[in-house]
């Protein structure tokens, strides 16, 4: 199962090789040319000779993760996050450490031993460590060294009614959408880019756009979904199950108005539910792509992801499938000359 394999693979920012290899195996037969750039982005170019506008599709392979920075006397590992993680959600979560995926648990001093001031504050990173079951520094050093990476250890499972939980739906769900899409055929030059280092500042996407000079670009993302109890409508950003969310404004991009309106219209015409992403916070690869070269007409389509950047994220499988449908419909519309600028 593609979503299971993709979300359970480890892909810290800058260390995406396991995810990249997995995607490469999936798509190798589907493109004219598949290659990796200097930063590690996997690029698959299809229909290179076709006429018509060149379209760049991106999804990022990396996920929020941790780097081991020191090993304590007792064999406990000190760590620092790579990408934005709320330290309050970390304690007691299982993680996988290093290339071998050793299981560890994020621990801290017991609550009854914390001083009153400590108890009143959320645990900071300095109060947390990863316990891999070693009893001494020497023992731990035979398994791990500073610089090794760790990711959440969550397994993919389908739950409830058409929902799934896993780590790293942000943005393996986008990677999965691209893998499903590249298997289809379009009479357009379409470039699929599985980018790196998005979580550390959209670093992989800019060079891909610069290299490929697309006419249009679309990023597929997992995005915030805050539609849970006690949240007013204007705080929700997206609603789970209400379809793919088209970005309007975020911290790095104001979407190209005509392109985003076109995408929404295509959804309406095809009977695919579509919502607008109703917040101006957050960012995705479009922030780098749309400013590349002389400027690129770009859009972002996102799958609402509850508990994003946390160990167990939830998506709606209907939203996932509707995103695949919407992306195909948008590409067909471009194929048929239905959108130009």
């Amino acid at each position: 199962m593609l979503l299971k394999r993709l979300t359970e693979a480890s892909g810290p920012s800058g260390f995406e090789s396991e995810v990249r290899q997995l995607i490469y195996e999936e798509i190798r037969g589907c493109a004219d040319r598949v290659y990796t750039d200097a930063l590690g982005t996997l690029i698959a170019e299809t229909n290179r000779e076709a006429k018509g506008p060149k379209v760049l599709l991106t999804a990022h392979m990396d996920e929020v993760s941790f780097m081991i920075v020191a090993i304590e006397e007792q064999g406990l590992l000190r760590f620092r996050p790579i990408g934005g993680v709320d330290p309050r959600i970390l304690v007691a979560k299982p993680v996988r450490v290093g290339a071998k995926g050793l299981i560890g648990v994020i621990g801290s001093k017991a609550v009854h031993l914390q001083k009153r001031e400590e108890r009143e504050q959320p645990l900071s990173l300095d109060q947390l460590f990863i316990d891999i079951g070693a009893s001494s520094r020497t023992q731990a050093e035979s398994y791990v060294e500073p610089g090794d990476l760790a990711v959440f250890a969550t397994e993919y499972e389908e739950i409830g009614e058409r929902r799934a939980k896993a780590k790293s739906f942000d943005d393996r769900v986008g990677c999965a959408v691209l893998v499903e899409t590249i298997k289809k055929s379009f009479a357009l030059p379409v470039i699929y880019a599985f980018t790196v280092q998005e979580e550390t500042g959209l670093r992989g996407a800019g060079p891909v756009a610069y290299r490929t000079e697309p006419d249009f670009a679309i990023a597929i993302e997992g995005t915030v979904c805050l539609d849970v109890a006690d949240t007013p409508s204007h705080g929700q950003a997206t609603v789970q199950g209400a379809g793919p969310a088209v970005s309007v404004v975020d911290a790095r991009t104001i979407a190209h108005t005509a392109f985003r309106e076109h995408i929404v219209r295509v959804g309406e015409e095809q009977g695919i539910p579509v919502q607008l992403r109703r917040t101006v916070s957050g960012a995705n690869d479009v922030g780098a792509i749309h400013l590349s070269g002389t400027g690129v007409v770009s859009a972002a389509i996102s799958i609402p992801t509850r508990y994003i950047h946390a160990p167990a994220q939830i998506i709606s499988l209907d939203d996932y499938e509707n995103t695949i449908r919407l992306l195909e419909a948008v590409l067909r519309s471009i194929e048929q000359g239905g959108f130009s600028v």
């Binding site: 705080g235 104001i254 979407a255 190209h256 108005t257 749309h290 400013l291 002389t294 400027g295 690129v296």
Partner: protein, 332 residues
């Protein structure tokens, strides 16, 4: 100049939806340009070929046309809109503000939820009332993603002072329109009315890459330090154009600055040196385009920048045009 500024100040220009002001500028520059076009980010380019012919070097002149605005993120059942900021706006200063939607022209008032202390106000407490009774009714005038800017327009105080919510930076746009009309230069002039400056000079970044000029200048306003207990800043209102030495986005090379000082002498206008570490401009984005572009700036001193009532002295504007025209004339 006053009438030109008035014409440029009335139309809206939220970041990313500068269409109303872009259309007005397009009409104004058309007669004075050899080519006018726009791009994916919303920049408007007006090209005036240099007297040196096809081998002429190129200077890019940038004036941003956008202004801070509010973006609709939600509409409730009773037709009230929830909004988030586009550009540097503080929620606590917006209560009671009058705004206008760029796309539909519908006017609205910013309101705040009751019971929140002024200092705790953030955008989640604000709403815009456009006089709609229901969600469907509101949808005729504003939709999610639509943007509204201030609607105060243009005012005069005495004979020399003008006031407006968008003098930052329609004054710069007016200077650029007028300079394009007057200028005779060996260089090809590419006037860029840039988009999305208020959200981080996004338009200027792609404009610098596209034009790849030999030199660039930004035209903007800059805050003064001449009001009671104001921030310590070098500029004074009515003291003449400011020649940029430093802002939050770049440090100008002394050579570039000296060329502008020389032009001020040729034009016989007073000048001031702008050192404004808290002010963002398009200069930094242009300066870092491609392999790096020699970049400077000329600013019109302005009071109350960042509020809906920005104030500018007309003589400063006239002298800025004179300085710029002299500079363009002596380029070889």
């Amino acid at each position: 100049m006053k009438e030109l500024i008035r014409q440029l100040t009335i139309p809206s220009g939220p970041p990313g939806y500068e269409t109303p002001v872009r259309e007005v500028i397009h009409t104004l520059v058309q007669p004075h340009a050899d080519d006018v076009y726009d791009d994916a980010l919303g920049n408007l380019y007006a090209v005036k070929q240099g007297a040196a012919g096809p081998s002429a070097r190129t200077i890019l002149l940038a004036a941003h046309m956008d202004e801070p605005a509010l973006s609709v993120i939600d509409i409730d059942d009773k037709g009230f809109l929830r909004v988030a900021p586009l550009g540097p706006l503080r929620a606590s200063t917006l209560v009671g503000a009058r705004v206008v939607f760029a796309k539909t022209g519908r006017r609205g008032i910013v309101g705040a939820e009751h019971g929140v202390a002024q200092k705790d106000l953030d955008f989640s407490h604000l709403f815009v009332d456009i006089g709609a009774a229901t969600l469907d009714d509101a949808g005729q005038y504003a939709r999610i993603g639509d943007a509204a800017a201030f609607s105060y327009g243009f005012d005069e105080i005495g004979a020399d002072l003008i006031v407006g919510h968008a003098l930052d930076n329609r004054v710069g746009c007016a200077v650029l329109v007028e300079a394009l009309r007057r200028a005779h230069s060996a260089y090809t002039i590419v006037a860029v009315f840039s988009a999305q400056q208020e959200v981080g000079s996004r338009g200027a970044r792609v404009a610098g890459h596209r034009i790849h000029p030999d030199a660039a200048l930004v035209l903007d306003v800059s805050p003064v330090g001449d009001t009671p207990k104001s921030e310590r800043l070098a500029l004074t209102l009515g003291g003449g154009p400011g020649i940029k030495a430093l802002d939050a986005t770049m440090v100008v090379a002394p050579k570039v600055r000296e060329m502008l000082v020389a032009a001020a002498r040729i034009a016989d206008v007073p000048y001031q040196i702008e050192v404004s570490p808290g002010t963002a401009s398009d200069a930094g984005a242009l300066f870092l385009s491609r392999e790096g572009i020699p970049t400077g700036g000329i600013v019109v001193p302005a009071r109350y920048v960042g509020t809906p009532s920005q104030m500018v002295h007309l003589r400063d504007v006239e002298q800025t045009v004179a300085l710029l025209t002299a500079y363009l004339g002596q380029l070889q």
